[in-house]
Symmetry: C2
Subunit: 523 residues, 2 copies
C-alpha cells in the first residue's frame, strides 16, 4: 500500500543531484527538439518523431563519447514511467481530438483493421519469428516470448503518415489511418496483457479461445469504464456548473478524471489505454460543452501539448537507448546474425501487415457494396494504409521493455537481443519508412499528398494536427468544411447504426450530459 520501502531504499542511492542533472539535461534536449522541429516544419518530410529520434541518437553519441563508451543514457527507461505518465496523455488526446463523426462513420473498417488486423499480423509475426529466429542461431525464447513478439511488432505508429496525409482531400483515408492507429495501439496492449495471463505450456484450442474471450472481456469492460468516466465528468460539470466560480477547477477536474479513469482501469487489470481513449471521446463529446469558453480553448491545447511532450520524450529516449552499449555487449549474437534478425523482423512486419490490409479492405468494400453507403477503399488507398502502419513507435518499445527487461535492464543475452532488435526496428522504420512516406503518397495520390498550405492559405497546419473536436462543436465552421471536403459522404444519407445513435444522442444523452443539439440540416 505504501511507497515507503521504495523511497527508503532509493534514499541510499540517490542524492539530490542524481535526480537534478539528468532531468535538467533531458528538459534542455526536449527544448532543443522543439525548436529544431519548428525550424524543420516547412520541410514536411521530416516530422517531429524523426527529429526527436535523430536528436536522441546524436545526444546518445555525445554522451557515449563523453562517458568514454560507458553509457549513452541520461535517464534509464522504466516501463512503469511510460505506462503511468507518458502513455495516458497521448491516448487521451487521441480520443479527445478525434473527429468523432468520421471515426464512427467508418467504424466498421476501422475496427476490422484495428482489431482483426492485429490478430492476423501478430499471428504471422509470431509464427514467422518462431521459424526464422533459430536459423540465425538465436534460441532461448519461450513460447510466451514469441507471442509477445507478435503483439510488440503489430502496434503501429501512424503520426508520421498523418502529418503527410491531407484530411480535407482524402477524408476517408485520413480517418481510416487515424482510427486504425488508435484502435491498433489499444488492441496490441490488450492482447499483450491477455497473453501475459495465458498458461503457455499447455496450449490447445480451448486456450486459444480463452485468449479471445479474455480479449473481448478486457475490451468491453475497459470501454465501459472509459465511457462511464467521461459521462460522470460531463454530468458533474453540467450539474455543478464549475465555470461560475473558476474555470481552473473545470480544467483540473477534466485532467484528473481522465487520469483517474486510466489508473482505475490499471488497478482492475483492465486496459487503461482503451479506457482513457473512450474517456477522451466522451469528454470531448459531452463534458467539453459544459465548460466556459476559455476552458475549451485551454483543454484543447493542454491535452495536445501534454501528448506532444510525451511523444517527443519517448522518441528522444528511443534514440538514446538505441546506442546503449551495455545491451549491445550483453547480446551474444554475431553481427551478421543480428542483421539477419533485424531484416527478418522487418520482412515479417511488411508481410504481416500486407496479409490483413488487402484482404480486410476487400471484405470492407464487399460489405459496403451491399449497404451502398460508403466510398470503397481503392487499391492505391490500400497501399497507403499498408505503408502507414509500417512505422513502429512508442508502444512497441514500451511493450518490449515490459516483456524483456526488469525495470529497464534486460536480465540475459536473449532478452538483451530482443530489446536491441526492437530499438533498431523502431529507429529504422521511423527513419527510413518515415522518409519514404511522402514520396510514396505523392506518387500514388498526387492530389491527396499535396500540402494544403500551397493551395489554400486559410487552412493552417494547426487545423490538420488538431482535427475539430466534433462535428457539432461548431456547426458553421464544420458545415463549410464538410461541404468542401466531405461532399461525397454528406450527400449520401446515412442509414447505419450511426444515425440511430445520433437520434438517441439528441433525444436522451445530450439533454442529460450536455452538448448542443446536432444540426438537423445534416442527416
Amino acid at each position: 500500500m505504501e511507497l515507503d520501502t521504495l523511497w527508503n531504499t532509493a534514499a541510499n542511492f540517490a542524492d539530490s543531484h542524481q535526480q537534478v542533472v539528468p532531468l535538467t539535461v533531458f528538459v534542455a534536449v526536449l527544448c532543443f527538439c522543439l525548436i529544431l522541429g519548428h525550424l524543420l516544419e516547412e520541410n514536411r518530410w521530416v516530422n517531429e518523431s524523426i527529429t526527436a529520434l535523430i536528436i536522441g541518437l546524436t545526444t546518445g553519441t555525445i554522451i557515449l563519447l563523453i562517458s568514454k563508451g560507458k553509457s549513452s543514457h541520461i535517464l534509464r527507461f522504466d516501463e512503469e514511467i511510460f505506462f503511468i505518465y507518458l502513455l495516458p496523455p497521448i491516448i487521451f488526446n487521441a480520443g479527445f481530438q478525434a473527429k468523432k463523426k468520421q471515426f464512427f462513420h467508418n467504424f466498421f473498417p476501422i475496427m476490422l483493421f484495428g482489431v482483426v488486423g492485429v490478430f492476423i499480423s501478430s499471428s504471422i509475426v509470431t509464427a514467422g519469428s518462431w521459424l526464422i529466429f533459430p536459423k540465425f542461431g538465436f534460441v532461448g525464447l519461450t513460447p510466451r516470448d514469441f507471442l509477445a513478439i507478435g503483439t510488440i511488432f503489430s502496434s503501429t505508429d501512424t503520426v508520421c503518415t498523418l502529418q503527410v496525409l491531407n484530411q480535407n482531400d482524402t477524408p476517408l483515408l485520413y480517418s481510416l489511418v487515424f482510427g486504425e492507429g488508435v484502435v491498433n495501439d489499444a488492441t496490441s496492449v490488450v492482447l499483450f496483457n491477455a497473453i501475459q495471463k495465458l498458461d503457455v505450456n499447455r496450449i490447445d484450442g480451448w486456450k486459444a479461445a480463452g485468449v479471445f474471450v479474455d480479449f473481448l472481456y478486457l475490451f468491453s469492460t475497459s470501454t465501459a469504464l472509459g465511457i462511464a468516466s467521461g459521462l460522470v465528468t460531463a454530468y458533474m460539470l453540467k450539474g455543478l456548473y464549475f465555470g461560475r466560480h473558476s474555470s481552473i477547477r473545470e480544467i483540473a477536474l477534466m485532467v484528473l478524471m481522465a487520469y483517474l479513469s486510466y489508473m482505475l482501469a490499471e488497478l482492475f487489470d483492465l486496459s487503461g489505454i482503451l479506457t482513457v481513449f473512450f474517456s477522451g471521446i466522451f469528454m470531448s463529446h459531452y463534458a467539453w460543452h459544459n465548460v466556459t469558453d476559455s476552458s475549451r480553448v485551454t483543454t484543447k491545447h493542454v491535452f495536445a501539448m501534454m501528448s506532444f511532450i510525451a511523444e517527443t520524450f519517448i522518441f528522444l529516449y528511443v534514440g538514446m537507448d538505441a546506442l546503449d552499449i551495455e545491451k549491445w555487449k550483453m547480446s551474444k549474437l554475431s553481427l551478421w546474425n543480428a542483421i539477419g534478425i533485424y531484416c527478418s523482423v522487418m520482412f515479417l512486419i511488411l508481410l504481416g501487415r500486407a496479409a490483413f490490409v488487402f484482404p480486410l479492405s476487400a471484405i470492407s468494400n464487399c460489405m459496403d457494396r451491399t449497404s451502398t453507403q460508403s466510398t470503397p477503399i481503392s487499391f492505391k488507398h490500400q497501399v497507403v494504409i499498408w505503408w502507414a502502419g509500417l512505422m513502429r513507435g512508442a508502444v512497441s518499445i514500451a511493450l518490449a521493455f515490459k516483456q524483456f527487461t526488469h525495470y529497464g535492464v534486460p536480465v540475459d543475452p536473449v532478452n538483451a537481443t530482443m530489446v536491441t532488435t526492437t530499438a533498431i526496428v523502431v529507429v529504422f522504420s521511423t527513419l527510413v519508412f518515415g522518409f519514404l512516406t511522402k514520396p510514396l503518397i505523392h506518387y500514388l495520390l498526387p492530389q491527396g499528398g499535396t500540402n494544403t498550405l500551397d493551395r489554400d492559405p486559410t487552412i493552417t497546419k494547426e487545423d490538420m494536427r488538431l482535427p475539430l473536436l466534433s462535428f457539432e462543436e461548431s456547426a458553421s465552421t464544420n458545415l463549410s468544411r464538410a461541404k468542401d471536403g466531405l461532399t461525397r459522404l454528406m450527400e449520401r444519407p446515412v442509414y447505419t447504426i450511426h444515425s440511430f445513435w445520433r437520434r438517441f444522442d439528441d433525444a436522451y444523452m445530450r439533454p442529460t450530459f450536455g452538448g448542443p443539439r446536432s444540426d438537423q440540416s445534416s442527416p
Copy 2:
C-alpha cells in the same frame, strides 16, 4: 549520472500495483477535494487550503482505521518530489499572474517585509526556541537545527488571506500581502540553504556576515538566471514565431523553459524558487505577448491549474501526514510538554511577525513621507498584514522535511518531534487563523472585506484569483479597472525608479523581446 541504481533497487520492492493503488486513491481524493472546494466556494470562510487539509485529515483517519492504526498515509512524502515537481509550478504561477505594475510600484515595502522581515522573524524564532524548548524537556537539537527552525517558521502562506481580501477596494494591501508572500517564500528557502552551508560550530561576527553575503549572492544570481531565462524564451518566441505552425509548440516551450530555469538553478546550487519566480514575471511581461491568442488563454489557465493542483496536493498530504502514527510514537515527549512546544512555537510566530510588521511599516511610511508618493500603511492595514502572514503552509512543511527527515522518515525522536510540531503548526494556523481571517478583516476594514460579488456582479471571482497579467496586456480593461480601484495611485505621478524602468522598457526592452508599448495616457 544515472538513475539506474535507484530503479534497480526499487525494482525489488515495487510491483506495479504498489505504484498504482496509492496514485489512484490520491487522484480520487484530489477530485473529491476539487468538487467539495467548489461547493464550499460560496462560503468564503472556508478556502481551498482548509478544505484540502480537512479532507486530508479525514482520509488519514479513515486509512488509520482501515489499517488498524498502522498507517495514515497513501504516499510517503519525499521532499525531493516536492522541490522538483510541486513547488516550481506554484511559484512560477505566482510570478506569471503577479500584477507587475502594483508589485514594482510597492517594491520597497514588499522587499522590506519579504527580506528584512524574514531575517527579523527567524532571529526571534531561533532565539525563542533556543530559550524555551529545553524548559519543556526537549533537548538534542543542534545549533543548525535552531537556525533552520527560524526559517521554517518564517515562511508564510498567504493564499487564505488573499481569498478574503479584495484587490479592488484595497489595492495597496492586496499588493503588499501578495508581494510579501512570494518574496517571503523565496527568502526563507534561500536563507535556509545559506544556513545549510554554514559551519555552525564556530559562529562569530564574520560568519554571520558570511551568511548575509551568501544570501545576497544567491539572491542576485538566482534573480539574474530567472530574468535571463524569461528573456531568452521571449526572444525565441519572437524571433522564430512559433505560432505560424503550431501554438502547441509555443505553450510547450514556455512550460519547458520555465522548468529548465528552475532545474538549472537547482543544479548550480542557486535558489530555484527565486529563479522561477522572475522567469514567470518576465515571461508574462514579454514572452506572453509573442504568442497566439489561444496560447495566451491556455498558458494563463494552465499555469494556474498546475499551481492549483500542486497546492491542493500539498495540503491534502499535510492533512494525512499530521496523523502519521509512527512519528507520534517516535517522538518521546509527554503530551503536556508537546502541547507546550506547539504553543510556544505559535507564540514565537505571532511575536516574530509583530516584531517586524509594525516597525518596518513605520519605516516604510517614513520613507514615503519624504518622497510624498504612496499611501501610508495605516495601523489597521498593519494588523491585517501581520495576521495575513501567520498561516504556515507548504514551504514550511517542505523545509521541515528537508531538515528533519531522511527521505520522508525522521531518524530519531528529536527529529520526529520537530516534524510533528511543524505539521501541527501548519494545520492549526491554517485552520484556526484561516477561519478567523474573515471576521478580523470584516471588523477592521468593513469596506475592504466585503465580497465584491455582492455589489458588482460583473467582476467574477475568477478575476480576483487570476490578477491580470500586466497593466499593458489589455489597456482598455485595465484602464477602466484602474480608474475604478486604483484612482489614488493613478492620479499621483510616479517619480521613482519605476518610471525610469518603464521608459527603458518602452525604448529598448519591448522592441527586442516583445510586448505592446505602454499606454502613454497613463504616466
